[in-house]
Amino acid sequence: MRITNSSSKHSIRKRGRSVDILINQHKVTAFEGELVSTVLHAEGIRTFDRKHKTGNSSGIYCGMGICYECLVTIDGVPNIRACQTPVENMMVIETSDGNKS
């Protein structure tokens, strides 16, 4: 849901360079300057992580890196806050639901 409404002052006319990333093994095009949370949200993904104790799903809540609800695995490293991580070319992102997503 990137803002494309061109009359909106918040529409980003042109984002950074496009990058190719993998989200749950699917190839996705994103743009430099975007956060991992942005790209996941734009792809319609709302469940980023599942709580170990209950299996409850979690995603973006505070948007500023203090709630730890938006954790994903990036390049094999788990528990990375998606809202604090900008995308990079060839980045491999996995959410808790992995292939099911």
């Binding site: 984002r15 975007e34 799903s57 979690s58 954790l71």
Partner: protein, 475 residues
């Protein structure tokens, strides 16, 4: 990597930047640290630098001015650096801030630290608050303003205070359908009028506020005074919200309940100060009745009970960007004088103009706090199976069990239930626990005390702690 400097400023929001540039002007060697990618904090959110090629920041003139000053100054700026602990090094006699960037660990030592870590959205717990799609006003603002992405196509906002108006207006402007904006304070108008004197002189703000209101009026977005969300529902993401009119103490009024389909619920119940470092260092904390939380005790120069540790801005009590900058100027000047950068025959003096500016901003902040308080009933929306501590998935039922065992403070609840022992060390659930406990015991929320917080304030891998080289350690 170890470095020494004269002043470390933690947090590059308006307060932190102002403190850094002011001190640097006096000749102080300043290092400014922030965990984000670009300075500005939450108030002056800049676009990512990759977007700036073809887009413009829509910022306050003041913000642009501040960023330019920072660029031109001698301040060493460390962005993308998470300060995870502040320690005292008895060998050097200095304060030591340990940092973690993506690939490197380091520390910086200085005799003086200014903590300007700002604030974050205050949470209230209600059934379904932890569903994906339910997010804070701050998160929504970041998504729209910084990333150009819509939180949802059909959104409802619930909370209290002017930040909600801004978020709602931005949503409308970005093309979302905003079902309603709910303001839980029902006595807003009555309370508001008595505070007109505090608003005097805040024309810039009023102009901004009117602008947001205008956008909402034009889009015919209902602004409902005395209403709140009471439940969010959906299959692993928010799909429906239940809202109700609430009485003066925040209790939902039967018969007023409505249900709406949404794909985003934006909650904005005000801000709470980021007091992590003060609690970590065991600074004296005092209870702020107007805000209902503990803040660091500061003297007139904004120094905490620990010599050399100063606090400016929202992290020491919510007051907004303007107040933060006024405090920052006074603090920086004081520190420059302490470090000997102001000529010796001058005794330290705060200018009367600075005092006036301070009082003006304090009045406004106080007014906002009094007008936009959260009625007690909203702290009772949670049901037995509502998650209170999200990190450890502790339910209200378990919290109540802890209280039945005899818990007298939030730390007692933490001890028994593990609330606050997860990743966020209680940032999200701490204020909620304090309210639940106080309500259950029939005591003022001050008696709930506050949670301890320990380094690292953000979790670190052991290998990252190891990389923090310690030349003194021997085998």
């Amino acid at each position: 990597m170890n470095t020494k400097t004269e002043l470390v400023v933690i947090g590059a929001g308006p307060g932190g930047i102002q403190a850094a540039v002011t001190a640097a002007k006096f000749g102080v060697d300043v290092t400014l640290i922030d965990s984000s990618f670009v300075p500005g904090g939450q108030y002056y959110k800049q676009l990512p630098k990759e977007f700036l090629k073809d887009n413009k920041n829509h910022l306050h003139k003041k913000a642009e001015f501040l960023f330019t000053e920072l660029k031109r100054s001698s301040v060493h700026v460390f962005m993308n650096s998470v300060a995870w602990g502040i320690f005292h090094n008895p060998k050097s006699g200095l304060w030591q801030v340990k940092l973690q960037c993506n690939n490197c660990s380091s520390q910086i030592e200085a005799p003086i630290i200014i903590i300007a870590t700002g604030a974050y959205d205050r949470s209230i717990a209600f059934p379904g608050w932890n569903l994906p799609g339910v997010m804070t006003a701050g998160a929504a603002q970041t998504m729209i303003k910084n990333q150009g992405i819509l939180p949802g196509k059909r959104a409802l906002l619930s909370g209290s205070g002017p930040l909600q108006l801004a978020a709602a207006a931005n949503l409308v402007d970005a093309g979302a359908e905003v079902i309603a904006v709910l303001e839980c304070g029902s006595r807003l108008l009555r309370k508001g009028i008595s505070h007109i004197p505090a608003v005097w002189g805040q024309w810039g703000r009023m102009h901004e506020g009117l602008g947001y209101a205008g956008t909402l009026v034009k889009a015919k977005v209902p602004y409902k005074l005395g209403w709140s969300v009471i439940k969010a529902m959906g299959n692993e993401k928010v799909e429906e919200v239940v809202i109700a009119k609430v009485d003066e103490i925040g209790k939902p009024i039967k018969g007023s309940i409505q249900t709406h389909d949404v794909d985003a619920l934006i909650v904005g119940y005000g801000l709470t100060p980021s007091t992590e470092f003060f609690r970590l260092l065991n600074c004296e904390m005092k209870f702020s009745p107007s805000e209902g939380i503990y803040i660091p005790d500061r003297n007139e120069y904004f120094e905490t009970s620990l010599p050399g540790i100063f606090a400016v801005g929202d992290c020491a009590g919510i007051g907004g960007a303007e107040l933060a900058m006024v405090e920052a100027k006074i603090t920086a000047k004081r520190i420059a004088w302490k470090l000997g950068h102001v000529s010796n025959d001058q005794s330290f003096k705060i200018e009367s103009s600075e005092i006036r500016a301070l009082k003006k901003e304090q009045r406004f902040a106080k007014m906002l706090g009094q007008v936009f308080t959260i009625p007690q009933g909203l702290f009772k929306l949670a049901e037995e199976d509502t998650i209170i501590c999200r990190c450890e998935q502790v339910t209200l039922s378990e919290v109540n069990k802890a209280i039945s065992y005899g818990a007298q403070s939030v730390t007692d609840i933490k001890t028994i239930t593990r609330s606050g022992m997860g990743n966020c060390q209680g940032r999200t659930c701490g204020t909620i626990l304090a309210q639940i406990l106080a309500a259950e015991l029939g005591k003022p929320v001050e008696t709930s005390q506050f949670l301890n917080i320990r380094p690292p304030v953000h979790p670190l891998l052991i290998e990252q702690i190891e990389e923090n080289a310690q030349p003194e350690v021997t085998g």
